[in-house]
């Protein structure tokens, strides 16, 4: 347990020691919020869906958690390249504890980053339906964070160096984001796109955030939670397995 804690603490320290990175990570979500939120707002309103800023804010939060969580999982590659990974892998601690510590740390960072984006969205005009939903919002954020951090760990364990990074970005991260319900409503999509968005865990994450934040949902909150929890278990298992197989 102490090992899990100290590795979680390490992730926290690394996060809080790079304020520049924290601010930089706010850039992209805010750009989406301002450019798309206000740019597409009039069209969205005309089509009878209401305010796009309201609709988009949970999507942008989901995106932030996806990127932040997955990258901290994939960050394993950096630890491998800079050597610190060895130090944790030869320690007399079950590898699963090392993996859990890292994943919880990464998930906490993703949640903090998501919360920051929520605050920023509040500043540009996003208004949640009620404050009573805060615990449910946090729970949803936590589930999304764990899902994608474990996902990142599973990928990071298999990568040997940073060269594969753009590949992961373009063929995994961006499709996960664009083919979810983050930017557009999931009703009445073409069949192919609908099929893809239906198997994308981020769709359920964003839908869960919308359900808890603005009371709008496509799948229904119970299904969102169910899918997220199930995917979290699968990815944690996958991450733990890949992590246990690392050879240096």
């Amino acid at each position: 347990m102490k090992a899990i804690y100290i590795l979680w603490l390490r992730e926290m320290k690394r996060y809080f020691r790079s304020p520049a990175q924290i601010v930089a990570a706010l850039g992209q979500p805010m750009l989406y919020m301002l450019a798309l939120g206000f740019g597409l707002g009039p069209v969205f309103a005309k089509s009878g869906h209401g305010s796009y800023v309201q609709f988009l804010a949970p999507g942008v939060m989901g995106m932030t958690i996806l990127f932040s969580g997955a990258f901290s999982g994939i960050g394993l590659v950096f630890d491998r390249q800079f050597g610190f990974l060895k130090e944790t892998l030869v320690a007399p601690v079950p590898r699963i504890h090392v993996m859990i510590g890292r994943t919880l740390g990464g998930a906490t960072v993703a949640m903090l980053q998501g919360a920051l984006v929520l605050l920023a969205c509040l500043i540009v005009g996003f208004r949640p339906a009620s404050l009573a939903a805060v615990p449910a919002v946090l729970l949803t954020m936590a589930l999304i964070s764990i899902v994608f951090c474990a996902f990142g760990t599973a990928i990071g364990s298999r990568l040997e160096n940073m060269q594969a990074f753009p590949l992961v970005m373009n063929f995994l991260m961006l499709p996960l984001f664009f083919l979810s319900g983050a930017l557009y409503p999931l009703d009445g999509l073409p069949t192919a796109l609908q099929a893809v968005t239906n198997v994308n865990p981020l769709s359920y994450g964003v839908d869960g955030l919308r359900a808890t934040l603005i009371g709008v949902t496509h799948f229904g909150l119970p299904l969102d939670f169910g899918v997220l929890a199930a995917v979290a278990v699968v990815f944690l298992g996958l991450g733990a397995y890949s992590f246990s197989k690392i050879q240096l």
Partner: protein
């Protein structure tokens, strides 16, 4: 304490370690010498559960590292050849993290961290993050960290690379002391023959993945009819210069070297 039989490791066509066998007795200071790319680090990685052997058997204090990974990890400490610090953490935090991972109790931990950081002259800089350190300081920190817990076996993979003579002296004095007072078994690799001559009780020379000679320093001298270990080493391994396998590790080393400047 360490028993290796017919150990091999191949990466596809490349045979990094070929059918080596050796034994290290409890409390022994054992040096594993060889030119660049001879298979030293690969062997250490297999002994320390980081790599699975292709064939052959290893026993660390009676246990097989590929089946009893955790029990085996409890038995040894290691100073790696390549960097292994978290450069975003301070010197103290790096020590602390290691102590927690190795289950050193809080009080003992604080005491030993202070003593070791003072010994390796890093105490004044304990609150600085490791990325601000010079190459030599990072190396000293890694070595200090290696002594934080008291394992049965200590692996030192080229521990003195990039160290000044003062720190080197400090290191070997400390290694010898720990070997004498705690009976720690030491398995070391080095390129500096004078160091091997100074500390090692027994030596194995590995070249192209195979062990070409082993015995006490005196036996090696007698066997090769030479008067210094350096001459014996050259007699055993020839004087051709080796190219190390490139790839990620080499990249990291280059990066680390660039960083040190």
């Amino acid at each position: 304490m360490i028993k290796v039989q017919n150990l091999s490791k191949s990466y596809g066509e490349l045979k990094a370690v070929k059918d080596i066998s050796f034994e290290v007795q409890p409390g022994e200071l054992f040096a594993f010498l060889g030119p660049n790319g001879a298979g030293k680090t690969t062997t250490i990685k297999m002994l320390t559960t980081l790599l699975t052997p292709t064939s052959g058997s290893i026993l660390i204090d009676g246990l097989d590292p590929s089946h009893h990974q955790n029990e085996v990890r409890h038995k040894f400490g290691i100073v790696f050849q390549d960097p292994s610090l978290d450069s975003e953490l301070t010197a103290y935090e790096n020590m602390e993290l290691h102590g927690v991972l190795y289950g050193v109790p809080r009080k003992v931990r604080a005491e030993r961290i202070e003593r070791l950081l003072k010994l390796f002259e890093l105490w004044e800089r304990r609150k600085d993050v490791a990325k601000k350190f010079s190459g030599g300081m990072r190396r000293r920190l890694e070595i200090a960290r290696g002594f934080l817990h008291t394992p049965k076996i200590l692996f030192l993979d080229e521990p003195t690379l990039g160290l000044d003579p003062q720190s080197r002296n400090q290191l070997w004095t400390h290694v010898k002391a720990q070997n004498e007072t705690e009976g720690t078994t030491v398995f070391l690799t080095t390129h500096y023959m004078d160091e091997a001559e100074r500390v090692a009780q027994r030596i194995a020379v590995i070249d192209h993945g195979a062990i070409v000679a082993q015995g006490t320093p005196a036996e090696l001298l007698a066997q090769t009819n030479t008067t210094s270990l350096e001459a014996a080493f050259l007699a055993l391994t020839g004087s051709a210069i080796r190219d190390e396998q490139g790839g990620n590790v080499e990249q990291m080393r280059q990066f680390a070297r660039a960083w040190k400047r």
